[in-house]
Amino acid sequence: MKRYFLDLFIGGKSLVDGLVVTTKALFQPIVTVQYPREEIDITPNFRGHIDLVLDPEKNTFRCIACGMCQRSCPSECIQIEGKKVEGKKKKTLGLFALDFTKCSLCGTCVEVCPTQALEFSKEYNLADFSKEAFHYDILKRLEERII
């Protein structure tokens, strides 16, 4: 019999305690961000898909089309082609395609690059209706940045 009333008392008190917590929370400021309306600063270390580094001195890419990234990529999502340019001995970069649907953002390509030609982009607003939208032409993205 004592247990019966004790249960009722302890139980009732615990329920009131819970209600106090939620009632307090009702008047506390919110913690969410209204995403499309406001955006928070993304950390500089964020790892998005890869981009070619724009060399400030040469005003172009550093990539030498050696293909290390292509070979080291575990998901085989990078495709590089070099092209011959008149008057130069070495091949230069002709195509840098990234299939982002396969990429798992491990960062191996950035690490193996002998010329530090790759970096992570800070793009995170990535949503689209088709798979093809994520087949990036990284070289073209760089060329758009060259003034």
């Binding site: 019966y4 329920l15 819970g18 929370a25 009702l26 400021p29 919110i30 913690v31 969410t32």
Partner: protein
């Protein structure tokens, strides 16, 4: 004009009252839906609906339009008659209790001398709708929901009636208007706190609200009795649920919180409705807070709680009340 003047004025008043009540039901559902989502949002430290209208105030209107405009989807293997009947059965009876509730001294569609009995009988039709819907859906989860609803409703009707009985013993009447009138000096919640608590708990269970939302228990039964419903069918259940909540809160206000009584206002016999609504929405706010705070009880615990705690306590309460009244 002649036909109107030959009609009894009582009938015209009833028709107007029903129209007002039906429109109020929709308004109430919209307000409650909005309040529920807004309060849930702020309890969880987020904003809730914000996009449609000022602070999302039109969100539920838009949702309503969407639900009504949706295709009437009837799954292949359902019992078509029952499946269609259930939402209507859930929506129709909820209008009737509002006819006898005295919103203020003069704002009452009809003062039945058996008002309380009428309300109790009408609100219990709701469980029929759930049973019919759950059965007609031909879905095992819906069936579980329906069966739970029936057992739950039967178990919780008893403490509700017993707690009402304590008030009836004190006032000697079933007319809601007279019950409110008897609270001129002191609200019954102060004389009958135990009955009030029992009534509120059972009322939450009766309206299938969390933590007693077993018929729809989405983590167990996906969506319980309305798993198969969409569009207008679902929205009628939704309307029914919120109107039932309103009815339960109104009855609690009438029985325990002194109805329209409050600091006097000009045109008090009409404007008492302000106090009435304040009290009702305070209770509804409380019910919403409870929903967003507690986990769901288990089915047998729910019934145990009714039979082991609520029923004995309300019986003792009646006994004490009877003795005190007789003395």
């Amino acid at each position: 004009m002649e036909t109107i003047s030959t009609l009894p004025p009582e009938l015209i008043r009833m028709v107007i009252a029903v129209i007002i009540i039906i429109s109020f039901i929709f308004l109430n559902a919209i307000m409650m839906g909005y309040l529920e989502r807004k309060i849930a949002g702020h309890v969880q430290r987020r904003l809730g609906p914000m996009e449609v209208g000022f602070h999302g105030i039109l969100q539920l209107v838009v949702d309503g339009v969407k639900l009504v405009a949706k295709e009437l989807l009837i799954p292949i293997n359902v019992d078509r008659t029952f499946f269609r009947l259930a939402p209507i059965l859930s929506f129709t009876p909820v209008i009737l209790p509002l006819l006898v509730i005295p919103f203020s001294e003069k704002l009452q569609a009809r003062d039945l001398n058996l008002g309380l009995l009428f309300i109790v009988s009408m609100t219990s039709v709701n469980v029929m709708a759930i049973l019919v819907g759950g059965w007609g859906s031909n879905n095992k989860y819906s069936m579980f929901g329906a069966m739970r609803a029936v057992a739950q409703s039967i178990a919780y009707e008893i403490p509700i009636l017993l707690s009402m009985l304590a008030i009836i013993l004190m006032t000697n009447t079933l007319s809601l208007k007279e019950i409110v009138g008897a609270q001129q000096k002191i609200w019954f919640v102060l004389l009958q706190p135990l009955a009030f608590i029992i009534y509120v708990i059972s009322g939450i269970a009766e309206t299938n609200r969390a933590p007693f939302d077993l018929p729809e228990a989405e983590s167990e039964l996906t969506a319980g009795f309305h798993t198969e419903y969409s569009g207008i069918g679902f929205s009628l259940f939704f309307l029914g649920e919120y109107t039932n909540m309103f009815t339960v809160a109104s009855v609690a206000t009438v029985l325990f919180l002194g109805g329209w009584h409050g600091p006097s206002l000009p045109y008090g016999e009409y404007l008492g409705i302000v106090w009435f609504f304040l009290k009702v929405y305070f209770l509804l706010f409380f019910m919403i807070m409870i929903r967003w705070t507690y986990p769901r009880v288990r089915f047998d615990q729910l019934l145990n709680f009714a039979w082991k705690y609520l029923v004995p306590f309300s019986l003792v309460n009646i006994l004490i009340t009877a003795v005190v009244v007789k003395l």
